[in-house]
């Protein structure tokens, strides 16, 4: 009996950590977005929300946002499809959140003789699962556009769906190279594969072995999150996106979905290209530098270092995605589609062919 409870507790703990991490990162990103853009543009940024005069550099703004969105009028268009209209934001957020489940945030944690994989769900086809979840997010967008009973929203939904599909095809094609190199669809295996050293000192991270795929993946990933420079599905005030009819927290959930997707893309980029939880030269019993120095570490310290490295890498990736979002101008719709189908997709296929040839040449 207690064994079942322990199992359940461990499973719950793994899921809870991932949920906690993703939701907090997503919430924090609303603050990061404001502050980072401000600092990049010589401004100060949001700093008005205060509790008892305490402003904390605007850290209360996400809280103020939540209160505002919950208390705003929850508008429902007269001819809208009630069920689908209400369901759409949930679908968007749900699939964005669920996508993170197979991204490993650490190796295994050993307590006694029990081994706990640090990953919400252990799946052999983790990469495919993340794809599936990310692509299902398209349904939220389509539903929102259709259910609003507004032709602009419908067009916005179609635009968003077309863009997301073109992006996701390119993501899939660009990741294939990584899968070929590490020979697995299991995210955990791919991250372990990145622990090797090339020539004895270069960590064999995805970005080293598949630099082209990294650039392609990042571009397509940004497009999949529907944020600038690919925010043509949204463009709240000027090009009318699929959620024009949404207000209050439902609108907030679409925004939230974008932020969570940003975290997911950052997590995927980390797991597939930046070595996931790998710290260079850190192995199970300590740090082994290539010139021979060894720093022995306890198991717990190693695990903490690895989880810390993962969180750090995801944060840096989020920062970088924000930097891109506040630097580039928006693509026109036809430009984005051309980039997706005539740029990213063929280039990923070329990358795939080149990778295959190299692998065949190396392995004979």
């Amino acid at each position: 009996m207690s064994a079942v409870l322990t199992e359940l507790g461990i499973a719950f703990g793994r899921v809870a950590f991932v949920m906690f991490f993703v939701l907090n990162m997503g919430g924090l990103l609303t603050w990061v977005e404001r502050k980072q853009s401000a600092i990049m543009q010589d401004r100060i940024g949001a700093n008005r929300a205060s509790i008892f005069g305490l402003r904390l550099w605007g850290l209360f703004h996400p809280l103020a946002d939540a209160i505002k969105m919950l208390t705003k009028e929850d508008f429902l268009p007269a001819r809208a499809d009630r069920v689908l209209f209400t369901l759409a934001p949930f679908v968007s957020v749900f699939f964005a959140l669920a996508a993170f489940a197979t991204i490993p945030f650490g190796d295994v944690l050993r307590i006694g003789d029990r081994e706990i994989p640090l990953q919400a769900v252990t799946l052999n086809v983790g990469v495919l699962y993340v794809f599936a979840m990310l692509s299902l997010g398209v349904y939220g967008v389509m539903m929102a556009g259709w259910a609003s009973a507004n032709n602009y929203a419908l067009l916005g939904g179609q635009r968003a769906a077309a863009l997301m599909i073109s992006a996701e095809v390119a993501i899939g094609a660009s990741i294939m190279g990584v899968i070929m190199v590490y020979g697995s669809l299991n995210m955990q295996e791919i991250v372990r594969g990145q622990g090797w050293l090339l020539l004895g000192w270069i960590p064999a991270w995805g970005i080293v072995l598949q630099p082209v795929a990294f650039v392609l993946f990042l571009t397509a990933g940004i497009a999949a999150t529907k944020r600038i420079p690919f925010d043509l599905p949204e463009g709240e005030s000027e090009i009318i996106g699929y959620f024009v009819e949404y207000s209050g927290m439902k609108f907030g959930m679409f925004m939230m979905a974008d932020f969570v997707e940003t975290v997911v893309i950052a997590g995927m980029a980390t797991a597939l290209f930046l070595g996931g939880w790998q710290v260079p030269y850190l192995v199970a019993d300590g740090i082994h530098f290539p010139w021979g120095t060894v720093i022995p570490l306890s198991h717990l310290a190693v695990v903490l270092l690895q989880v810390g490295a993962f969180v750090l890498k995801v944060s840096v990736m989020c920062w970088f995605l924000m930097l891109i979002r506040w630097t580039l101008p928006r693509f026109r719709y036809d430009q984005a589609m051309r980039l997706g189908w005539l740029g990213l997709f063929p280039l990923s296929i070329l990358n795939l062919v080149a990778t295959g040839l190299v692998l065949v040449a190396l392995r004979g």
Binding site: I39, R43, I44, L323, T327
Partner: protein
């Protein structure tokens, strides 16, 4: 308009993207260092932002700025205005409303019994100031923050306009923002 021909590496886009990211990232880190110096190490003279935090910090206005009107008084405190209607006539927005009355002093022909300006309509052209032969109306209070939740609240009466003072040489208003009687906050 002819579009400029882009060179090969500009059309490849990726290089230019990286250059752009470098520019914004440089701004980010430089400003972050300045903010850190200011808020962590107490270097008050270092500014990481060029923005002015409006209600607390204000930029000094030019003394020539056209702001909320005021009516000028004579030595004895009575309004200098002789109700000649010049300003009412010249006002392109038709927002001045004057009721003239007989002045007890035979040297002065008339005085305004009422003098209302509807600031909700005023376009701040300053024609009223230019037209006045008596220098009785001026736009030198330096007050720019007057807003109201009702249209009636934007109508400023003679009494309010007479109570306003000119801004100091630094452009900072001397008078507080007047609250008309019928303004509902």
């Amino acid at each position: 308009m002819r579009s400029r021909r882009l060179s090969m590496h500009q059309r490849f886009y990726l290089v230019e993207v990286l250059v752009g990211l470098g520019v914004t990232a440089a701004h980010f880190f430089a400003n972050l260092a300045r903010h850190t110096a200011r808020y962590v190490f107490g270097r008050r003279d270092v500014h990481g932002a060029v923005t002015i935090q409006y209600p607390e910090e204000r930029r000094p206005y030019s003394p020539r700025l056209r702001s909320l009107h005021r009516l000028v008084r004579r030595e004895d405190g009575s309004p200098r205005c002789v109700a000649c209607m010049m300003c009412e006539t010249v006002c392109p927005a038709h927002c001045i409303y004057i009721v003239a009355a007989e002045h007890p002093n035979p040297d002065v022909e008339k005085y305004p019994a009422r003098f209302d300006i509807d600031l909700g309509k005023c376009v701040f052209c300053g024609y009223c100031v230019e037209a006045c032969p008596e220098d009785a109306i001026r736009m030198d209070t330096g007050i720019l923050e007057f807003s109201s939740y009702s249209r009636a609240g934007m109508i400023y009466t003679k009494e309010i306009l007479l109570a306003l003072e000119p801004a100091g040489p630094d452009g900072v208003p001397r008078s507080p923002v007047p609250i008309p009687a019928d303004r509902h906050p």
